[in-house]
Amino acid sequence: MSTATREATGPAGQPTRPSGKGGWGLSGSSPLALAAKVVLLGMVAAITVWMAMPLIATQSWVLLALLLLSALAIFVVYLQPRYIPPKYLVPGVIFLLLFQVFPVLFTVSTAFTNFGDGHRGSKEEAITAIESSSVKRVKDSATYSLSIATKGDPATGDLVFLLTDPKSKEALIGDATGIKPLEGAEVSSLGRVTAAEGYTILNAGQASTRSKDISNLSVPTDTGAIRAQGISRAYEGVKARAYDKACDCIKDTTTGATWKADGDRGSFVNDKGEALSQGWRVNVGAGNFTRVFQDKTLQTHFLSMLAWNFFFALAVVFGTFAVGLAIALALHHPRLKGLKIYRILIVLPYAMPAFAMMLVWRDMFNQDFGLINQLTGASTNWFGNPWLAKLAVIIIQFWLGYPYMFLVTTGALQSIPTDLTEAAGVDGASKFFSFRTITLPLLFVATAPLLISSFAFNFNNFNAIGFTTEGGPFPPESPQVGGTDLLISYTYRLAFGAGGAQYGFAAAMSLLIFLIVAIISIISFRRTAALEEIN
């Protein structure tokens, strides 16, 4: 990128026009810049190749085309001297697309599907899973010793199973057409065919590279089919369930039961409405959103949960801000000794891993073994009472959060010119008055965006609940919503608790929560703009 500026101003310092139509620009740069350019573009090419390989393997042609187009665009932009602005914009745009736009699009698209446990893959994958898990061993059938052999090349030739019946020790040969006796075979003392005329027996290493072919080979018999179990044993099994294209259903050959494909649910369902557990991913439209709005528990508890959620986020933001500011003011004295030590001590909680500290705090609040009750001699059941539990999680967040606010306000205080307050003092204003009318408003201007982002973070602070109370205590008459449940911790349980992982539903709910946070943030930022007019 440094080359761009060099190209813009010529060697003699006079501005040269970008050479317009001509000049694929590797010239006109210093050797170092050229080397940097080659290395960086080389890395782009390398990453493109690395990313392309799985895409080719999974035959995702659209994504592959996108990848190649963007790689091409990068090369064109940086090898052509004329595109100056894109040279600066492209890296940022790529990262924006990769880390912001793509995940958001993915979440939105997931929100309209039933993607989750039991509905992860395609219909074909579900059918394969149903069929292969229905292969049952034929009752009282023999287990054969198996050798895998071929007439041709071990790496590519058509495979046959060389089998020995465990009882008769008779050697057999099986292929896709059926099973027949094998002449001229050598059978080892363990009962395995070790050599057969005209056939090459694959060793384990060779066999392991043919794994797919071995799994796909089934030797038909009167009662089922002989399949390999590993590379040294084979058994006779029968596929109980099979997909029937004519009726788009799964049929059980032993019981006669059928499950019809239901494209809306992404499941095979029988006439009683029972579904096979292996389903596939389908579009469910707004189904996930209506499910959120029709959720009875959410309907009755939504307002109280939202109120607590707001209270929690506001209390944590303004509480930590107040504590942080108070300490910052106390330490904002030019003649204070040992300032650095104080600051280090205060910032310490911020430097420790938050999740570990939350676990420590959770144990400190334990009724019988916790430090807090032991020190105070009380037997308060902190996490057993909804109000105490709320207090406890807020205390924990105070402790974790105030050093951050201390750092922020210290920085902001230092940037406020002292002559303003001094002038106010000369005019006879009290210290508190000048703090309230001069320092605080200026402080808010500097910290308001941080307070808003801190609010958005705490509004969705899953860890604060997940690592401490897990949403509890839960009232016995309605165990779904706990006393400290935030919207995010409740919806997490809804999406990943009882019904396994339901990514589609979770995505829908996170979009709704995002809407709430976005609206609040927009309003707050508008108000901040008003604040700035003080300047």
Binding site: G25, P54, G118, S133, S208, S211, S215
Partner: protein, 429 residues
Amino acid sequence: MKSTRLFAGLAAASLLALPACSGGSGSGSSSSTGSATDSASGASSSATSAAAGGGTLTIWADDKRAAALKPFAEQFGKDNGVTVKVQAVSKDLQAAFVTASQAGNAPDVVVGAHDWIGNMVQNGAVDPVQLADEAAFDPQAVKAVTYDGQVYGVPYAVENLALIRNTKLAPNAPKSMEDLVKTGKELKTSGKAKEIMALQAGQNGDVYHLQPLVNSAGGSLFGMTSDGMPDAKQVKVNSPETVAALKKIAALGEKGSGALKRSITAENAISTFTSGKAAYLVSGPWAITDVKKANMSYDVSAIPAFEGGKPATPFIGTQAFYVASKGKNKSLAQEFTTNFVATPELHVALYKAEPRRPALVEAADQVKGSDADIEKFKAAGEGGLPLPAIPQMSAIWEPMGKAEAAIIGGADVQKSLDAAAAAVKKSIG
């Protein structure tokens, strides 16, 4: 002129790309697991040449198991001329496996608990296996890995809860739960102990650890299908028997004798016992390592039943090897799990990594001479049901746990269980 410069640039770029992409494709497989640590067997020895011709077998296991498996996996690789990679996935192995399986990066073999089977099957992540000799395994273990009439894993360890007691404080095994509470209370009043019993009831409940008591008092969570498998359609969370059973448990709770407390959690139950604050601990073989470290005299016995009640049978858990449906080397994976894993040597090695009872009868017989606890835990699990593997069970654990926690705290039994049953039925649908 223009085009030659472009080509020069592209050529330079592609030259750089070559080494980068060959390195990239190699690390790509393991980067998908995040925490996976590669340990390719014999990568530097003669196995490399064999590996060129043979395939690769990738095994995912948790940290402890991965370390114990490594030498055996290397042996298997050498014997068969293939490369075996054992990768340790330290967190959320099941979720990582199911996700990787969907993304096409599945390992060939995964090692984990049997109650994963239901979820792995509904996501089409594992295949049934044919055990070479079913009779060689503990029947409870085989039952545990059987799902929907099919065997899905090769079990290697069996575990269940038992009563571990501090023989210095309580020399005799309690005859009944009432007996245990009486002794515990005496120890508490004499100041020798602070708690009657360490059973991790937890703030939000722990169904697994409480179930033996619920069973003994005649309660049950779900009905059974005709073939003896748990049936999610028959929710018995608030059946009259279960309500009666939970009333008995409420009598042991915080408003009762105080033997069960919400403040005793998964984090502090074992340490409460090992520090001598409680004479009794309800836990599994995994606690034994800590108990031994505490250098205390202990004994293992069955969890005592209520007087006149049914036996306090715990759930049986099994650890097993599974063949991934979407693994790249299924034949080798089947060979490894059904033929190689089912050897006593490997079972004993895994037992040494963590003292759970080996699932192969022969291996269990080998270790029980040096470890008396093995037989005692087995006796304590007599008659226990396997921990249900059907995915719908996850709908029961949470509401039931919360109801049990509330009841231990003194809440109304009927109300709590009705609410739990309503929540269960809602999420099962």
